[in-house]
Subunit: 344 residues, 2 copies
DNA sequence: GTGAAAGCGCTAACAG
DNA sequence: CTGTTAGCGCTTTCAC
């Protein structure tokens, strides 16, 4: 159960401990012969350097702390995936925590990560006060994902919700729509930006924005459709939904009253969850580059660690439109050649 | 950027370093007065113990290594969530890796985790050879999740796919079905067990099992329905699908030819993904206790670490049936009181 | 190139 | 209860 140490390897190879250390770190100043001997001894003993001892002695760390507000959430899981990819690529490991979107727990989680003196710290969707973030940034590089906070000492990676909604509107306008409504995400995260993006894009096209209050759930999407049916005549020809599940709820409610998507009304989601890719659903939606966000977060950290960057970077990523089968030209108007609609 | 050490705290509080150490570890043999003084000094300096140094000196670890075959997968993300919950509850942190289902990468990932000398190691859905697992188990407690491997030195947590399919069949039989077919998951993970469970349960009821080859995708579900329509007359009254997405594909294909679910045919999924809970879909399905699997994995590790357990434990968890709207009595036969069907 | 010595920040006996 | 003395396993000068 107790693993061999450097001394064991040195003894076995008949060299000093320092030599073993040099070999383990791949130093060029070791004769090929001795290097072989050391490597063989290590191999035979099943030796591998003790990362913590190394870290303590060298005053460096290969640990990146990650505080995830909610791992359960597919969004963050993918961000972590991206983080992990570049981290492991560069020889770093992730030490992960969750904060459950509660400030007190997040504070403890951050403190716990900091106790390992990580090389950097990524905070994914944190809700803690900016002061806590600033504090942490005092002892290690910090990058924020899905949380903006323009402290001069921390980096941040966000996607641009305004751009995303704008893409949705532009796509619909290009298809020939003009009566386009937005089901918003209420007070949910990013909802305000998506709403603003929608309004701005509509105005830019000289169209009248209509925002219906909704939420990030399928039942809310369905309820909002009910309100739509009650109050609007003529009905709009397109809906920019709060997110994918909201869109699914809307589509099923439309379906229930005999309105076809996209034949009678086009619907566009947001998030490009795995849900939207199901052939049965074929939801046109806006994709956030989650994986890239994770990669960029890791890179931001590593730049500070390895290249000593000190000026903050704030990435605002462009979401992209993923066109599937839930959008088409409005009824009575021929499609302008981009696609035919019709579920897969 | 360089954080205060124990010596700084000791100096500031006017005591010895040893005393600070005792206070930090919550030893009872310190006068309340001095404890206060130390705590205050620590607070003022923003001191918190260096976890790695502590670990090195005490020859103990508060790190649990986790090798995830694929974080992208919602199944594992939830298992990690469960692990994290009990780990952080007991003062442990998770250090996470992914292996991408490739043996070579997984081997490196495991080695990297081991270099931190974690208190335990959880392998989620690993594909590495048993020898690698046995090796790892030689230096730290190991628990396997979603991978059985009856080494006498490692624990394992799996769900019982046979039981799950059995639950599905029993549920349908109870509703009055007798022509029940299974769309299987081909060579996918767990598919064989689910198939066996289906066959065994059918036989137990004196019914003829019919397995149609399929896959864990929605398009495969739809294709398999097409085959069903071609070859079976009369049609079966119920389908035990390979998993949730397969079920969704099947339902949409049935829908396309005018067959109602559950009016004409009942469909039951497997996995209870967030998908199935959408009101629009309302899929009756089998739930695997993913979160509990994570909790149990962490607990298995901690039992070995803290209570010195040495005999292996192998948990085989019972999945449960989640009844929603995609199953009902077969056509022409009154429901036997359990539920009415009809989408939410 | 190579070995000896001095820590990294902390814990763990052990005497006072 | 408190301070002293050794390390944990490794890296890092710094002479040889």
């Amino acid at each position: 159960m107790t693993r061999p140490t450097m001394a064991d390897v040195a003894a076995r190879a008949g060299v000093s401990r320092a030599l073993v250390s040099l070999v383990m770190r791949g130093s060029p100043k070791v004769s090929a012969q001795r290097r072989q001997a050391v490597l063989r001894a290590a191999e035979e003993l099943g030796y591998s350097p003790h990362a913590m001892a190394r870290s303590l002695a060298s005053r460096t760390s290969t640990l990146l702390g990650v505080m995830v507000s909610d791992l359960h959430n597919a969004f963050f899981a993918e961000v972590v995936d991206g983080l992990e990819e570049v981290a492991s690529d560069r020889g770093f490991e992730l030490i992960i925590n969750t904060g459950g979107r509660r400030a007190a727990r997040e504070r403890r989680a951050v403190a716990s990560l900091l106790s390992f003196r990580p090389a950097g710290l990524a905070l994914l969707g944190p809700v803690v006060a900016a002061s806590v973030i600033a504090d942490a940034a005092g002892s290690t590089p910090v990058v924020l994902v899905a949380r903006s906070c323009r402290l001069s000492t921390v980096d941040s990676i966000n996607d641009d919700g305004r751009v995303g909604s704008g893409l949705a509107v532009n796509h619909l306008v290009r298809l020939g729509h003009s009566r386009i409504v937005h089901f918003d995400g209420g007070s949910g995260s990013q909802a305000a930006q998506r709403r603003r993006g929608y309004v701005a894009a509509m105005r830019a096209h000289g169209l009248e924005p209509v925002v219906l209050h909704s939420e990030y759930t399928d039942t809310a999407g369905a309820r909002t459709v009910a309100r739509l049916l009650e109050r609007f005549d003529p009905l709009p020809t397109a809906i920019v939904a709060a997110n994918d599940v909201n869109a699914i709820g809307a589509i099923s409610a439309l379906d229930a009253v005999g309105l076809r998507v996209p034949g009678d009304i086009s619907v566009i989601g947001y998030d490009n969850t795995s849900l939207s890719a199901l052939a049965h659903i074929g939801l046109t939606t806006i994709d956030q580059p989650r994986h890239d966000m994770g990669r960029l977060a890791a890179e931001a950290l590593l730049q500070r660690v390895r290249h000593g960057r000190t000026a903050p970077v704030h990435h605002l990523l462009r979401p992209t439109l993923v066109e599937r089968a839930s959008t088409a030209a409005p009824p009575g108007r021929p499609a302008r050649g981009r696609r035919q609609g019709g579920a897969g």
